[in-house]
């Protein structure tokens, strides 16, 4: 009798400690998001700069590009535009999005993806001297039918890339991505890229500065990140005997 009581007390104690741990972890996550600069429906993630060579309509461009990564929650074209408006100029955003896709198209795409479980959307903005390139990625999982609907309507549309895989890679949720999935479920991402002239925005460089300011010193962040990346990219060497060991194992003739 006494043993049972002791057992119960121990279980209760462990349950309490587990609950306490969960609460502390949740609180810590919340802090993390706040410190990343949460503004309404958008969470700023990062700003990095790099020089790239890109080709658009047969012409090669070499330019410095700032990559801005945002997490956006939007379920309709209006919400998407409103969310982007807090990053881009409000008017420019409306023109920007609608000049590439109509409201109906955006709603269609969002709805198709929204019908799927585990839907996420992320927006990546590359702002160079002359162009703004916006990638909207909508991730989700669904049936073959959902995929076919999108492929039929947008299969040949160069603005859209439909990435498909099966059985797991996109399963799970944001806390536990890749946790495994149901056999036969189709997981796919819809990547829409929008390209427009800087004139629409009144200058890409200006926009880049604004975004950096919004990000709380994005350019400085990028410089620091670049140095970290340089240091991280130094490889570690295996021992000199590794090559010999492999040759010996596979019986290669020396």
């Amino acid at each position: 009798m006494r043993k049972t009581k002791l057992k119960k007390t121990t279980i209760l104690l462990f349950a309490f400690l587990a609950l306490l741990y969960v609460c502390i972890a949740a609180h810590a996550d919340g802090d993390e998001i706040q410190s990343e600069g949460y503004t309404g429906g958008i969470v700023f993630i990062s700003c990095e700069r790099e020089t790239v060579t890109a080709e658009y309509q047969g012409v090669s461009y070499k330019r410095e590009i700032a990559h801005y990564t945002f997490y956006v929650q939007a379920e309709t074209s209006e919400e998407l535009k409103n969310a982007l408006a807090s990053v881009l100029e409000p008017d420019a955003t409306a023109r920007f999005v609608t000049s590439t896709f109509t409201n109906e198209e955006i709603d269609f795409l969002i709805n198709e993806i929204r019908n799927l479980a585990a839907c996420e959307s992320r927006v990546y903005i590359d702002s160079g001297e002359n162009d703004i390139l916006l990638h909207v990625e909508l991730w989700g999982k669904g049936s073959e039918e959902s995929e076919n609907v999108i492929r039929t309507k947008y299969g040949n549309d160069p603005r859209i890339e439909l990435v498909r895989t099966a059985n797991g890679p996109f399963a799970g949720n944001s806390d536990n991505p890749g946790a495994g999935g149901d056999t036969g479920t189709v997981y796919f991402a819809l990547v829409a890229a929008f390209l427009t002239a800087a004139a629409v925005f009144g200058g890409g460089a200006e926009l880049a500065k604004k975004r950096a300011a919004l990000a709380g010193g994005g350019t400085e962040d990028a410089a620091g990140a670049k140095e970290i990346k340089r240091r991280l990219s130094e490889n570690t060497s295996p021992s000199d005997t590794l090559r010999e060991r492999i040759i010996e194992k596979v019986n290669y003739k020396k």
Partner: protein, 166 residues
């Protein structure tokens, strides 16, 4: 077909010259990748060796992206090792011995120490992107997670590294 892919398939056909080319190109980034996951040089070498042996013996002639294919095998083997460690066969995390300390610069040691504070998944995405030069799409194919999630994790990891090293 890239030069690496050419060498890869010639290596499968038994060319030692092609093996040397493949080894020269991939051994260091692959080793760094595995080492960053398992945090033990000897285990990392064993895994890299097994990757080569599996590939050469298995002859995956239809591998669409040989480099990703090798990383995927390494990823699975490293994951198996980590899961074996957590299932009771607990291995001590390697700490650099005196000779290592003497050999490596203070910067390098600080970097490795900071890296150890990251999660395995964070170290993995950093290494695949920065050491191996793989795109996030290729990484997504190797470790089976969405590109967006990887980007998020990568950028968070870089920020943490800055904080740890500042």
């Amino acid at each position: 077909m890239s030069a690496f892919e050419n060498d890869f398939f010639e290596m499968l056909a038994g060319s030692t010259e092609a093996f040397e080319n493949v080894y020269r190109e991939i051994s260091r980034p692959l080793f760094t990748y595995v080492y960053r996951i398992v945090q033990n040089k000897s285990d990392a070498e064993d895994i890299v060796q097994d990757v080569f042996v599996d590939v050469i013996r298995g002859k995956p002639l239809k591998a669409r992206n040989p480099k990703s294919y090798m990383y995927r095998i390494a990823h699975n083997k490293a994951a198996d090792l980590l899961s074996a460690r957590t299932c009771g066969e607990e291995l001590d995390e390697e700490t650099p011995d005196n000779t290592d300390v003497e050999r490596e610069s203070a910067d390098r040691i600080a970097l490795e120490a900071a890296l150890r504070r990251l999660s395995v998944k964070e170290r993995e995405v950093i290494s695949l992107h920065l050491n191996s030069g793989l795109t996030f799409r290729e990484i997504s194919g190797i470790i089976g997670e969405p590109v967006g999630t990887l980007l998020w994790r990568y950028s968070g990891a870089i920020k943490k590294m800055r904080r740890y090293l500042s």
